[in-house]
């Protein structure tokens, strides 16, 4: 068994009466791209700061590669941080900023020069070495912050919403770049974001947090396909939540009495919420074209929205309104508002959640 890059055991952090982080347990593997995802104020930054040593847990312990961190100050921890505001030193050049960590560690001048050069190349900032942060664009500042942290070859790199200040296009480009750099250097990344799409595209695993607690820790796909709670299902992507009752394993009765096949995890009689993603629903004019084992529910289109790459329908099932999304592909049938339709979905696409 290998020891985790970061081990968090029973960690709680209180600020006076506020419980910022509420008894979390977490193991982050070596070389992993790990994201902490959750709404504003859920304790992501606080968790990251405790790993960095900028904040100390009220209770619990944090280890890095098995070594207990305790009250060790940030300058004695083998981790580096990319701050949300970048926190670049305004009175130093790009080179000065990137070299700072190495100088503090008393690395020889030759090696410092070499490693700073490499780091600046890695983040593609060659030619900007002598500029001050004030003379750089947001994206360039972000790269300096990244180079300044990476140059120290930390065991773990902590990133607090590093792309939050960038516009959408640049953010998407930087997401790919960051992911590439992480693969290249092989360092464990702990990445804080409240952008679910960003977390899904970049991470090996995601931890979804809410109100200081960890709700689910799982690989990206599992978080999206198999959320374990209503909160996670709603927070990640769009979804339909339909309430019902388990009749027998694999069968759920909806509020209007209709039966659907679903993935259930609890016994007969339990109240559940079906999680059904809009893109998992196929719309048909008649039942004939629906595969045998699919669920079939009849309804009426009440609204159609054109998104370019897809069409978005609101379907009225009598008791509830469900969103469905169909890719905009040639030959695909389109449905008019008011048209009666059959909504079909695979039983595996409907997860019965109890929480």
């Amino acid at each position: 068994m290998t020891t985790a890059a970061v081990g968090i055991k029973g960690v709680t952090k209180r600020f006076g009466d506020v419980v910022a982080v509420d008894h979390i347990d977490l193991e982050i593997a070596d070389g992993e791209f790990f994201s902490l995802l959750g709404p504003s104020g859920c304790g992501k930054t606080t968790t990251l700061r405790m790993i960095a040593g900028l904040e100390y847990p009220t209770e619990g312990s944090i280890t890095i590669h098995g070594e207990e961190m305790g009250l060790r100050p940030p300058n004695k921890r083998p981790v580096n941080t990319v701050f949300q505001s970048y926190a670049l030193f305004p009175h130093m050049t790009v080179t000065g900023n990137v070299a700072f960590g190495l100088q503090m560690q008393k690395i020889s001048e030759d090696e410092t020069r070499r490693r700073v050069g490499e780091a600046i190349d890695l983040v593609r900032l060659s030619g900007m070495e002598n500029r001050r942060p004030g003379m750089l664009s947001g994206g360039q500042q972000q790269r300096v912050a990244l180079a300044r942290a990476l140059v120290n070859r930390p065991e773990v790199l902590l990133l607090d919403e590093p792309l939050g200040a960038l516009d959408l296009k640049l953010r998407q480009a930087m997401q790919l770049e960051l992911k590439e750099i992480q693969r290249e250097v092989g360092i464990t990344f702990v990445y804080v974001t409240h952008d679910q799409e960003e977390a899904l595209t970049m991470s090996d695993r995601i931890a979804v947090m809410n109100e200081g607690q960890l709700l689910q820790v799982a690989p990206s796909e599992e978080i999206y396909e198999r959320p374990n709670t209503r909160f996670v299902a709603e927070f990640i992507g769009e979804t339909n939540l339909i309430s019902g009752t388990v009749v027998e394993p694999g069968i759920v009765k909806l509020a209007d009495g209709r039966l659907v096949k679903a993935r259930t995890h609890s016994g007969a009689g339990t109240a559940v919420t079906l999680n059904l993603r809009p893109e998992k629903i196929d719309l048909h004019h008649t039942e004939e074209s629906v595969p045998e084992h699919f669920n079939k529910l009849s309804g009426t289109i009440v609204r159609r929205l054109y998104f370019g790459d897809s069409l978005f329908y609101e379907v009225d099932f009598g008791h509830s309104i469900v969103d469905a999304r169909e890719e905009n592909r040639p030959g695909r049938e389109r449905f008019a508002e008011g048209a009666p339709i059959i909504a079909a979905f695979h039983p595996d696409s409907a997860e019965a959640l109890t929480e």
Binding site: L54, P74, N75, T81, F83, S85, F89, Q105, A149
Partner: protein, 263 residues
Amino acid sequence: MTTRDGSALTRRLDRILKGHAWFVYLFFYLPILVLIVFSFNESRFFTWEALSLRWYRQMFANDNLMAALWASLQVAAVSTVISTALGTAAALALERYKRFLGKRTFDALLYLPVIIPDVTMAAMLLVFFTSLGRQLSITTIVLSHIAFNISFVSIVVRARLANLDPALEEAAADLYAGRWQAFRKITLPLIMPGVLGGALLALTLSLDDVVITQFVKGPDTLPTFVFGLIKRGVTPEINAVSTLMLTASVVLVLGSLALQRRN
């Protein structure tokens, strides 16, 4: 707004206000102008005779005056250095440590010297020194100047610190800097304009102070010496001294403002 209705009254009010501003300037600066002009006058009376540096020569030949100038410079130099160090430290403590025992009290007390009248401060210091059984000397002047200058320095430095992103110091710590290194390499260079501005302000205040120095002095400083001279009647020599002091003060204050503005 004033011209919309175009009434004669508002236009007249405008003119009165403008005239009033000029009058205030005149009131402030005319005496200064007179002083400067007559410091270069050959005559000892307030009638213009000829341009001359006579009084400046006489001033530099006056041993007592030179001793007072020397004392002033010593007091100013020492009190500036010490109050700048202590004032900066106080500013750091108040801005960086959000909570410590007695912070609010300390915060309020620190600004007391700015608010209370000089005479009160002077009397307090005198009582303090006498109760300690201290001989009044140049040391007591220095200590007194330090006492009031700390407040001014820390106000100026705090303004600068308040604009400093605390994440910068965290970033330094995260990049393996110890506390002292983070201060030396990051905090200090970034608040330096504030520190220097505060120091120049302290220097000016120390060089200008009469009231407090008068109470706690041993030897005369330049301002108290001039004050003493005036009791025996105004001589053009005083004009010359005052002109020099004025020039020094203006240069220092402008320097201080320029440093505080610099980014």
